[in-house]
């Protein structure tokens, strides 16, 4: 089923309004979710809307947060999100980073007491629109086992780096630090297929191809999959995200990051509050004239796009390129919703006293 972008946006906005968000917050939260659906990252868009609502029902999301800076220097700040939607807290934090970068060249903000912030790329792109380089990362509830560990201690902890270019679209590296995203596992679970070895381990820590092994007490593996192929590097990257987002801000970290799902309780006596994020912006012209940088970015992109390839039909993909193609297509032709998500949204509308998305 295809839904037009304006229709899905209005629906999403109304759900957030019904939750008690201000108009500004509802519109911003919808914008972050829609950006994900537009860019083809279906796992992080409106498919999660009912999850946010369930957390709100359990009073784990505050619809009217007092988001505030609790510590700062000229170019650094820590923000307390007051248990609000990460979808509005992270853009607030990135704006603080951008404002500092405008004056001092760079700005860096660590966030505590937040919730799931949608796609990291949304926030990093806010910097790119100002001719800045954008950084965005977040910790997440534990699903990943560090190298040699039998237990889950880290989230899929994504990191995003975004760079403006000249005549080409921005280069956007936006990636989970695990070998495979949880969404890919869920697809395999639904379709009853096996997954490649190197994505997950079972409860005893053995390699497995059974996608249900995660829910049965197994764990996702860090990028690199096993020690021989560099899983200690994926673990190191995930640790970096956890420390910058969680330890630096005073949020939960490691196994104490609260779960996104409402049926799991939050950890008892966590060392910090809520989920943590880390956002940064650096002015390109803090290093060299923006035009010179952008024209070299164009050279970089052209050289990689024109690389000789193994398969003549499979070009090298510039990071961010497929997502932009999806966005242009879906703005024009509408956003595809799988039946399960459409049904979920309609049920949500009923619960919130709104008109269903589809009849």
């Amino acid at each position: 089923m295809l839904i037009s972008e304006p229709q899905l946006r209005l629906f999403t906005q109304n759900i957030f309004l019904a939750m008690g968000c201000s108009e500004v917050h509802a519109s911003l939260a919808a914008d972050v979710l829609l950006k994900s659906d537009l860019r083809g990252i279906d796992s992080h868009g409106v498919a999660r809307l009912s999850g946010y609502i369930r957390l709100w029902e359990k009073q784990r999301i505050n619809p009217t947060p007092n988001i505030r800076i609790i510590h700062e220097t000229a170019t650094t700040a820590t923000i307390d999100g007051d248990a609000g939607l990460g979808l509005v807290i992270a853009p607030f934090a990135m704006q603080v980073a951008i404002d500092k970068a405008k004056v001092y060249g760079s700005g860096w903000v660590s966030v505590r007491n937040s919730n799931h912030f949608g796609i990291a790329g949304y926030h990093a792109l806010m910097a790119v629109e100002q001719d800045m380089i954008g950084f965005a990362m977040t910790n997440a509830s534990p699903l990943v086992a560090p190298t040699f560990s039998g237990e889950r201690l880290l989230g899929t902890n994504p990191m995003c780096y975004a760079f403006p270019a000249g005549k080409y679209p921005p280069v956007i590296v936006d990636m989970a630090t695990s070998a495979a995203a949880n969404g890919k596992l869920e697809i395999a679970q639904r379709s009853g297929k096996q997954v490649p070895e190197g994505w997950i381990q079972d409860q005893q820590g053995n390699p497995t191809t059974d996608p249900h092994a995660l829910k049965a007490g197994g764990a996702l593996l860090p990028l690199g999959s096993d020690r021989e192929h560099g899983s200690h590097k994926g673990f190191g990257l995930s640790a970096t995200v956890d420390i910058l987002s969680g330890v630096l801000s005073g949020a939960g970290f490691g196994p104490w990051v609260p779960p996104f799902v409402s049926f799991l309780e939050s950890p008892v006596n966590p060392p910090g509050q809520g989920i943590g994020h880390f956002l940064g912006a650096m002015r390109v012209d803090g290093f060299r004239p923006a035009d010179a940088f952008k024209s070299d970015m164009d050279i970089w992109i052209e050289r990689f796009k024109s690389a000789s390839t193994i398969d003549p039909n499979q070009k090298v993909i510039i990071p961010g390129e497929p997502e932009l193609e999806a966005e242009l297509d879906r703005m024009q032709n509408g956003i595809p919703l799988v039946d399960a998500v459409a049904k979920d949204l309609n049920e949500l509308a009923v619960k919130m006293g709104l008109k269903p998305l589809t009849e």
Copy 2:
């Protein structure tokens, strides 16, 4: 053969002095190389000394560089290394970042016209000693093929993040963004062993376990090894390092990064000058009191160290821990040199008119 740290340091310093470096630069360059040997990263220490000398003989390393800031804001700067040793340029750049961070909370420096900078960890640790978080990365000559590419377009482009802790040593994530480091391949080449699938591809882009395939026109693979296991993520990380180090500074980037080895010519008409680095420092107390951060880092470290493990004899390794253990051991007991490196250093001494390291 075991050589004491002071003996190897003095020898190394004298080589740099004989090359024409100032006493301050010779001492600093020796310090960076020795740190690598002490920390057990034998591929980046004195084993490279003759390589630096050969580049100097070809006039590709300037022993008396005029290292200078060519562009800056309050918290950002670009430095031209004047074709000097990266071993002295990178510490200069990190000091600029630290000085900016002292005043404004953070400092970020991109470097062009440099050479190989040794281990990234050395530079990042300079920030940690000031209760700051340290970032260090560098691009390098092309050995790695992006996902789907049949040609090498990126270096092993390492990234390092270093965090101070309280009663425990700092957490130091210092990693090549390729699946395996070139040094590991060289060990397999010397011993005539096959390497695991997922480290390299051959000239046609096929998976191979032959360690000689790299020299025969093949390529190292990005972290993740293949598309199914996330090699596009390793490619994205390597691209990030290349852009922050090369494009942002005006250094060479992608396939135009000059080779470390003197027998390969530098690329013709490169879009930038020399090798590029990127260094950064953020004050911990720009985000929260340093003591609070450090005591939470201790909790983080203790939780990961005490994780239940798959094999009871193999604990989870905290990033940076094995290197510190090596350093303590080698400071006490001396630095092991393999015969080939000892022979190489003795020949180097003769060439430079110095006393050999060993008789």
